[in-house]
């Protein structure tokens, strides 16, 4: 396995890192007026990277043939699937940004740049087959994300979000690193393949501690309960395009990473970590459902919604089966579509002066003044609540199907009952828009890019999405098979 072949296998990361460096130079010399051009350059780089990623997804690449840099990195179907989702989410967050930031003043050139670097980090995360690659990817992503959260420098809430995210994120990284060092100490290797082989016989107490700490660190990154406290504050404080990004791409990356660690490196010890994941999943569903009820800010509400959704995705992980992993991947794809749709709709909520509207009470009667926007937001809400015939139902459906097939009926029952209080607050948004008298504040406005993105995500989560469910399921299954190739 020569260097050149390895470099070709990481083509997507090559392109993105090089583009990122070029963008850095352009930004340094050109200043903020290049921001819009850089945004499009970033989108083009993401599209090119996606073009290099697609073949791996279509051809069931797995195991040794996907391995690059001597087992440090894997360009298998699983990584390709997650990366495509990350690229789509990142491209959406790039596209919605210019009109948002330009309303607040000049858009900063750092924004597209940081997104691209974060995406490189996330690409490494989902491809990592070694604890060190994992950590480098995670930190690259996190450092970019901390800065992004604080990127509205005139806004105190943004600074608060950045600081909170940084302090707690650093703590979580520390916990993760501690777990990794324990694992290394007891397994004697940092490679996932090696860990799997060494721990074949059984898990020593030390390695178990390592695994637990790693899961705790990762639970922070996916904002699962009990490590979710930062999420509402960061989502609320960060500028909305950044929140769009946080709610989608890093979730995909961190969940994929968790899947690779749990299902591959520790894949023979499912019964050991299962109870941890079950607890985290059920707690996330319940806290996500109950925490949102009192929220008056739609971004905070969507933050709790993402906690709730992560809980459902983790139910798939808790099964420890290939069908559970495939269900997670399907759910992730649908979740990205719903979140992008939801946040783009939120971005389009503006008052008469063009300022962003975030309070739920301000969108009262939106269905009279802006029927299409209200309809879109209502679709997102019903879809997040998992009400058929919207496509959000399909995500919950596959996850619960996997759970039932794995014999976890009680967990499935608890989780699905937990989705009922969640439906309550999704309905609240619909109620405010449809049943209440118009507050006369919202005068939704968005440029063509917003409308195009909103339309795309609406098509994806509408019942038309079911037409793609067979195809999506096939891709997810190929990706999950790549993850389980050693089993």
């Amino acid at each position: 396995m020569g260097w050149l072949i390895s470099l070709r296998m990481i083509a997507a990361e090559d392109i993105l890192s090089l583009t990122g460096l070029i963008m850095l130079l352009v930004a340094a010399w050109g200043g903020d007026k290049t921001a819009r051009a850089l945004t499009w350059l970033g989108v083009a780089a993401l599209a090119t990277a996606a073009w290099f990623t697609v073949p791996a997804l279509c051809h069931d690449v797995m195991g040794q043939e996907a391995s690059a840099f001597f087992g440090q990195y894997s360009a298998d179907s699983f990584a390709a699937y997650s990366k495509l989702l990350i690229y789509i989410a990142a491209a959406a967050s790039l596209l919605v940004a210019p009109s948002f930031f330009e309303r607040q003043g000049q858009m900063r050139a750092e924004y597209p740049l940081l997104i691209v670097f974060a995406v490189v980090g996330m690409g490494l995360m989902v491809s990592a087959t070694n604890l060190l690659t994992l950590y480098i990817g995670l930190e690259l992503n996190s450092l970019a994300a901390y800065v992004l959260a604080a990127s509205s420098r005139g806004d105190n809430r943004s600074a608060e979000a950045g600081l909170k995210y940084f302090v707690l994120g650093a703590l979580a990284s520390g916990i993760l690193l501690f777990g990794m060092s324990l694992t290394y100490g007891f397994a004697g290797t940092t490679s996932f393949e090696g860990i799997r082989a060494v721990l074949h016989g059984g898990l020593s107490t030390g390695a178990l501690f390592g695994l637990t700490f790693m899961l705790a660190g990762l639970a922070f990154k996916v904002s699962a309960v009990p490590f979710h406290m930062w999420t509402p504050d960061v989502y609320e404080g960060a500028p909305t395009p950044v929140t769009t990004f946080f709610a989608t791409a890093p979730k995909v990356a961190a969940l994929s990473l968790t899947m690779r660690v749990a299902l591959f490196a520790f894949g023979e010890h499912v019964q050991v970590w299962q109870q941890i994941v079950v607890f985290v999943a059920v707690a996330s569903i319940i806290v996500g459902a109950l925490g949102a009820i009192g929220q008056g800010n739609i971004k905070r509400l969507l933050a709790y919604s993402s906690i709730n959704n992560v809980g459902f995705i983790l139910i798939g992980l808790a099964t420890g089966t290939p069908s559970g992993a495939a269900a997670m991947l399907v759910y992730l794809a649908i979740y990205v579509a719903m979140s992008v749709g939801g946040f783009v709709a939120v971005l389009m909520l503006r008052d008469a002066e063009g300022n962003q509207i975030e309070a739920i009470s301000d969108i009262a009667g939106l269905s009279r003044t802006q029927p299409l926007l209200a309809g879109a937001l209502a679709m997102v809400m019903f879809s997040l609540a998992g009400i058929p015939p919207l496509f959000g139902f399909w995500g919950k459906f596959v996850v619960f199907q996997a759970a039932v097939a794995a014999g976890m009926v009680p967990i499935a029952v608890i989780a699905i009952v937990g989705s009922v209080p969640a439906a309550f607050y999704y309905l609240k948004v619909v109620k405010v828009m449809y049943f209440d008298e118009p507050a006369g504040k919202a005068a939704g406005r968005g440029d063509a890019v917003h409308i195009a993105l909103l339309c795309l995500s609406m098509v994806a989560i509408s019942p038309l999405g079911y037409l793609a469910s067979g195809w999506l399921g096939g891709l997810a299954k190929a990706a999950a098979d790549a993850l389980f190739h050693a089993a």
């Binding site: 039932v404 097939a405 029952v413 469910s469 067979g470 399921g473």
Partner: protein, 510 residues
């Protein structure tokens, strides 16, 4: 008719026109909605005329692989047929009832109703268990909006209550369905209906389905959403709620709970009897003291549905047949009663019983039709109500004379509260001048109520038209249930004495 996808067509017509409705103005939307529902009614008549009584159990079947293991599987038996007929008959009337009374956001209203129609037909025709679930659950969205946007003063509370109650019931059913599909390896409803699930699992599965259907039905004590929803919903919403949505619960028991889990059904039959008997007596008494006309009729619905559930779990043909007929009859009669309330509500904008009185003087036509539906609700011979209740009571009596006695009380109380309502509204002195000034029925109202009256009388005089299609299917279901029949005191022991007690013994549940 072979091979022509008439069921899909019946679902497609309202769906397509509901989308069209969203993009036109109110006046056009009304016409389009009426056209769509009338086309569906015509298609329903075609369906009925081509349905072969005594033919195959499942007719007009359509099978097409859809996606990811789902099938677009449709097909009807006689029970589904009569319920579809009920749906397509009530829908044009609902549109007619909303013609003038709905003034705001007419296109959305009509779109929601047409979408409901697609889903209701879908529920009764689905032959894939997940397809059924999707149709069953998707109905929440339009109904939530109908109650919430076009409803009365407390519409928001009522819409939430409706949505969350029903959702909680159905999500448990979803998990049960997944387990069943996992166990049986098929999503095909007819196959599952013949599948013998392990008895221990049946009990859990039965409870999960019960959670859903009992809320939908609704059974005491989870009926409390119904009075709220009925009172707050617009007239047409109440009609469709009482006429069709409640029937989904009963249909669910017939299609899923009874044939799929016969042993568990026998095991839990005493629970059903207990809850239903409480419902019959308690809600009848509650109905007696209501001041709000819609609330009164809503509580009477719960009482009637109690008789349906007892009849279903009586495990004999008269009980099952009677229950289906009560469902049909109640769909018509309760729908018609809500329309009657709607008629005077449109004139006076109040549902308070005390605000009316003596309107027989100024509204004689209305008084006659209202009388007919009141009598049908009470179960007077010659109306549809009698046939169903009579059959059910025969079935229930065979099971247990005590249960029959208590259910009979409900019928007597039913006569009390309905006649009391009628007397207070229609007879007496005209104490309220604006009630006395109300004009009689106009042509539109006369057409709607007249059509319903005709069907109610038809069903009362010649019920065979409606019983013939369901007879064979009830017999099939009865044969399936025969292996788990609860013993009742209506049966005689070998030496001629009644069997003591009506509870199911462990032995009869295999």
């Amino acid at each position: 008719m072979n091979g022509f996808p008439i069921l899909s067509l019946m679902m497609a017509v309202p769906l397509v026109l509901s989308i069209v409705c969203l993009f036109v103005d109110g006046r056009t939307a009304r016409v389009l909605a009426l056209a769509a529902t009338l086309i569906d009614f015509a298609l329903g008549l075609v369906l009925w005329s081509h349905y072969q009584v005594g033919g195959a159990q499942w007719q007009f079947t359509e099978r097409a692989p859809l996606f990811a293991g789902f099938q677009w599987a449709l097909g009807i038996d006689g029970i589904a047929l009569v319920l579809i007929m009920l749906t397509v008959f009530l829908m044009p009337i609902c549109i007619g009832a909303s013609w003038n009374s709905i003034e705001k956001r007419v296109p959305e209203y009509m779109a929601a109703f047409l979408f409901m129609e697609t889903l209701m037909i879908g529920v009764f025709t689905a032959q894939d268990i997940y397809l059924f679930y999707i149709m069953f659950e998707a109905g929440l969205i339009p109904m939530y909006l109908i109650i919430g946007v076009w409803g009365g003063k407390d519409r928001i509370y009522a819409s939430y209550k409706f949505f969350l109650y029903t959702l909680l019931g159905s999500v448990l059913m979803l998990i049960a369905m997944m387990w069943m599909v996992n166990e049986a390896g098929t999503t095909d409803v007819p196959t599952l209906m013949a599948y013998n699930f392990p008895v221990a699992a049946q009990k859990w599965l039965w409870l999960a389905f019960f959670a859903s259907f009992a809320v939908k039905m609704p059974m005491w004590p989870v009926h409390t959403w119904l009075p709220d929803a009925h009172v707050q919903a617009p007239t047409a919403g109440s009609v469709i709620l009482a006429g069709v949505l409640l029937k989904m619960g009963g249909y669910g028991f017939i299609r899923f709970s009874l044939p799929m889990f016969p042993e568990a059904s026998a095991y839990f039959a005493p629970l059903i009897f207990a809850l239903s008997m409480v419902a019959v007596v308690y809600t009848s008494l509650v109905a007696l003291v209501q001041h709000d006309m819609k609330k009164l009729i809503a509580y009477s619905s719960v009482a009637h549905m109690g008789i349906v559930t007892i009849g279903l779990f009586a495990f004999n043909r008269q009980g099952l047949e009677g229950s289906v007929v009560v469902m049909l009859s109640h769909g018509l009669v309760a729908g018609a009663l809500f329309l009657c309330v709607g008629v005077i509500y449109d004139r006076l904008h109040t549902r308070e019983i005390d605000r009316y009185g003596g309107i027989a003087i100024n509204m004689p036509q209305y008084a006659v039709l209202f009388m007919l539906f009141t009598m049908a609700s009470v179960g007077l011979p010659g109306t549809s109500g009698f046939v169903g209740e009579f059959l059910s009571m025969i079935g229930i009596y065979q099971l247990s004379s005590w249960v029959a006695l208590v259910s009979g009380t409900g019928i007597i109380l039913g006569a009390a509260y309905m006649l009391y309502l009628y007397r207070r509204v229609v007879f007496g002195v005209q104490k309220n001048p604006d009630a006395a000034a109300m004009p009689d029925l106009d042509l539109r109202e006369l057409a709607m109520l007249g059509a319903m009256a005709a069907v109610v009388m038809w069903m009362g005089v010649y019920p065979e038209t409606f019983i013939a299609p369901i007879r064979a299917d009830i017999a099939t279901l009865d044969a399936r249930l025969a292996q788990a029949k609860p013993k009742g005191d209506g049966q005689l022991t070998a030496n001629g004495f009644p069997v003591q007690g009506w509870t199911v013994t462990a032995g009869s549940a295999r």
